[in-house]
């Protein structure tokens, strides 16, 4: 079904109803109102102990109504898309303002959107057999990798989200957003130790993606390799040292160290350690960081953001100088800065806010081998779990799940899990070498902010930081 007509055909949402709801939303004097319709169908399958123990499907639909009056936002939502309920939600949200209506609803102009990902026609893909095949193959590949593998869990999950955004400023946009992902979790055991390894990936893709280079065996072998490696890991070192981050997912450093701190809402309120620093040197001149919502098929990509604005590539830091914040409509208007198409939300039940899409550092000129060779004693971290940042103090952490000691320019023993900590506005000033090997992550990132989770991407070339604190227990 054409996504432009989906909410009309399935729920009877006509343009006239949209206009009525927006009019009702502005009836108490709001400056701006928008409606966000969302319909989601999701499937997941899991193999565990070599049998398919779980299979589930879910559907949900709803609409969120937002009214903005100055810096105030009123919000209400409904999971019943009848005209009555929509109008009632609009009246509830309207009460954030207090007075007679002053704004009228503009005629709709459709946002021009690219075509970054496939838009499957079927509501729920009923081809379960091929999904089952993926998880069973992952199970077999992980077990085959090494006899020390004792437990394997593999899952496949996909989702199809349809959205329609209509706003009183004339914004009108719709999109169909697919997402698919595989995950493999492995336990390995030897005489004395047990260790875990995990791997996963995907994006705004269809199942055919997993027939390419990122086939189930790829994720399974990667998870098994990590678990086996961890069986012989030594204690991670403790203290400040040189740190080399591998390409790809270690770009989570950027997400935590600078990305969140550059979200416009925090800077409008001056609660971010980066507030007022546009034009200032916040990183080494070797560092250029962009946020790009327009990469084909990427997990963090969107044809249109959740406020109906076109997404774009935004340069955040250019040669170490802070250039731009990531904004949504509210922040752009209140700060008098351009919108960057970064207004996102977890679901129709949530108020949108500035969020990252795919955030990465551009490649430099150094050979990754030279970078390792330049380190006398340090840590080489190639894979990470999650991270977290306190945007006010600027302190951020990210946890290495695969890392090695570097001794006299050589990568030596693998180390056990350790958290790295740094200070956002300072950390990237210590970047002394940037590799020529930019890679993006495999499509596993989920970012949390104010209780809302959204899918994101990160990326980075091999990077050397002259100093960073490593939270191990060893020497």
């Amino acid at each position: 079904m054409d996504h432009k007509r989906y909410f009309l055909e399935k729920f009877g949402v006509t343009d006239r109803l949209l206009e009525r709801c927006l009019g009702e939303a502005l009836s108490a004097g709001g400056d701006y109102a928008d409606l966000y319709f969302e319909s989601v169908a999701a499937t997941s399958l899991g193999v565990d102990e070599s049998i398919v123990k779980s299979a589930s499907q879910g559907v949900s639909a709803g609409c969120g109504v937002r009214v903005v009056s100055g810096e105030r936002t009123g919000y209400a939502y409904t999971d019943d898309l009848s005209a009555d309920r929509l109008l009632r939600a609009a009246r509830t949200a309207a009460l954030i303002a207090n007075g007679p209506a002053t704004q009228t609803v503009q005629g709709f102009t459709e946002t021009e959107v690219p075509n970054l990902y496939p838009a499957p026609a079927a509501d729920l893909d009923t081809d379960l057999a091929s999904k089952l095949d993926l998880v069973m193959r992952a199970d077999r590949a992980a077990r085959k990798y090494d006899p020390r593998v004792t437990q394997v869990r593999a899952s496949y999950a996909d989702e199809l989200r349809r959205i329609l955004v209509a706003a009183s400023d004339g914004t009108y946009a719709s999109d169909t957003q697919p997402m698919a992902r595989m995950n493999v979790f492995v336990l390995a055991k030897d005489a004395t130790r047990t260790a875990k390894g995990s791997s996963g990936g995907g994006g705004r893709v269809e199942i055919g993606y997993f027939a390419g280079p990122k086939r189930p065996e790829h994720f399974a072998e990667e998870a098994a390799r990590t678990a086996i490696l961890q069986l012989s890991a030594v204690a991670a070192p403790a203290g400040e040292m040189e740190v080399v981050l591998g390409p790809g997912w270690p770009g989570v450093l950027l997400h935590e160290a600078v990305g969140h701190g550059l979200e416009a809402d925090f800077n409008r309120k001056k609660t971010s350690a980066f507030a007022g620093m546009i034009g200032r040197q916040v990183a080494s001149p070797k560092v250029t960081v962009v946020d790009n919502g327009r990469m084909p098929s990427r997990r963090g990509s969107l044809n249109v953001d959740d406020e109906g604005s076109a997404t774009q590539e935004t340069v955040l830091i250019e040669n170490g100088v802070l250039k731009c914040y990531l904004s949504d409509k509210l922040s752009a208007r209140l700060m008098g800065i351009p919108g960057t198409g970064n207004g996102r939300r977890e679901s129709y039940q949530q108020i949108p806010m500035p969020r990252m899409t795919n955030t990465y550092m551009l490649a430099g000129e150094d050979d990754p081998y030279d970078i390792i060779r330049s380190v006398k004693r340090g840590l080489y971290a190639v894979n990470f779990g999650g991270g977290q940042v306190d945007i006010t103090s600027g302190k951020f952490v990210f946890s290495a799940s695969e890392a090695y000691l570097i001794e006299d320019g050589k990568v030596t023993a693998p180390v056990r899990d350790a958290t790295l900590i740094g200070n956002g506005p300072e950390a990237l000033k210590h970047v002394s070498m940037v590799g020529n090997d930019l890679a993006l992550d495999e499509g596993i990132g989920t970012c949390g902010k104010d209780g809302q989770s959204v899918p994101v991407g990160v990326g980075m070339p091999t990077v050397k930081l002259d100093r960073m604190t490593v939270g191990g227990t060893g020497r």
């Binding site: 729920l124 875990k196 400040e240």
Partner: protein, 460 residues
Amino acid sequence: MSTATGTGIDLQQLAAEVVRKALAAGASDAEVTIREGDEFSVSVRLGEVETLKESGSRGVGLRVLVQADNGYRVASTSSSDFTSEGIEHLVAGAVALAKVTSVDPFAGLAELGEFGQLDGDLQLYHEDVYSLPPPERIALARRAEAAAMAVDTRLVNSDGASFDAATGQRIFANSRGFAGEYRSSYCSIAASPIAQSQNGEMQRDYWWSQARAFRDLDQPEAVGQEAARRTLRMLDARRVATQQAPVIFAPEVARGLVGSIFDAATGDAIYREASIFTGKLGQQVAAESVTVVDDGTIVGGFGTSPFDAEGLPSRRTVIVERGILRNYVLNTYSGRKLGMKSTGNAGRGLAGNPYLDAGNLFLEAGAEAPDAILRSVDQGLYVTRLMGQGVNPVTGDYSRGAAGLWIENGEVAYSVHEITIAGNLNDMLRNITAIGNDLVFRGATAAPTLRIDGMTIAGE
């Protein structure tokens, strides 16, 4: 405010009907969960309303089990569509999905005698969370923030203050005749001021009060003032040298350790041999002073429920008693895998198999005053904030970002940040050398002040 219930559908009847339809469609057993909830939320910042949200939603989940020679195939579906067409789709989808899953010899509902629920009023629901008109709810958030900002001129900015209220209803029914329903309510006040030191460094902390009844909430002024105190004490934070030193966990971070103990004791982790507690039932796993209990029966508790997500009565389970691992926490499936009975700790989402969930989880209070524990440390860290996930449940490796206060000669010397604390849970639990008498439930998991020796602090 009662939005979703206004539709006139009796949800208990609906749950029973979905069970019947699932059996008619070919399921051997079925479980139905219905959740309905309303929320109100207001945030203010620098005295002005920033966001105001008011709404309700609901969902239904079905899990079907189809018997085979040697076990069951299971599958589940969920939906927000309560129309008869939506329900038909829910049922047909689940039964169709069950055709593709494997026969699992350990799957299946609990035994008949195990189902049940606690009697009496557990005081989980109080009308008064919605008794205040919206302007007064807004005023509560304003008062909390104003009280915080008034404490000190170094409080120059605010991340806002909020008042939240929510009510929910949960219905569960299965094909073995269990039917249960309960309502719960919740409200909270929180404040998060920002302080700035002369050199421009900013610090933010927060404090909150939550309760099931509005009348049990702390005064907004008390919440704001405590948030201010916590924020101000972090100003002019330094880093410290990398070293081994005693670490005192404040109650609000100590409860994370109790959560790790629960995770290690879950049947799921045990049968997979993915836990530091694997095979250690009856053995010493923590210092002799340590007792950890999960109790889903405490009247009015944040983790209390009359029955778990499989329709078994909530109960009290001693996990660690005087340092000895006494019990695993189990649902029906993990119990069966281990040859044991469920401890009534099943949790679940709308769709998916049951998982393991804590009730009111706590480490029992000790005898020492928190001040006395601080005074017992010559040189060490009083940690008030932890960052990152940094706990490996399989190996017990623990490494997290930390901030707090540095202790010298039993006194607070200065605040510290941008450091990590690291160790291994196996050692950390054995090296708990002092337990405070300050156990207070500020959520479903609680712990008193804890002193742990032998951890590594990484800094400069």
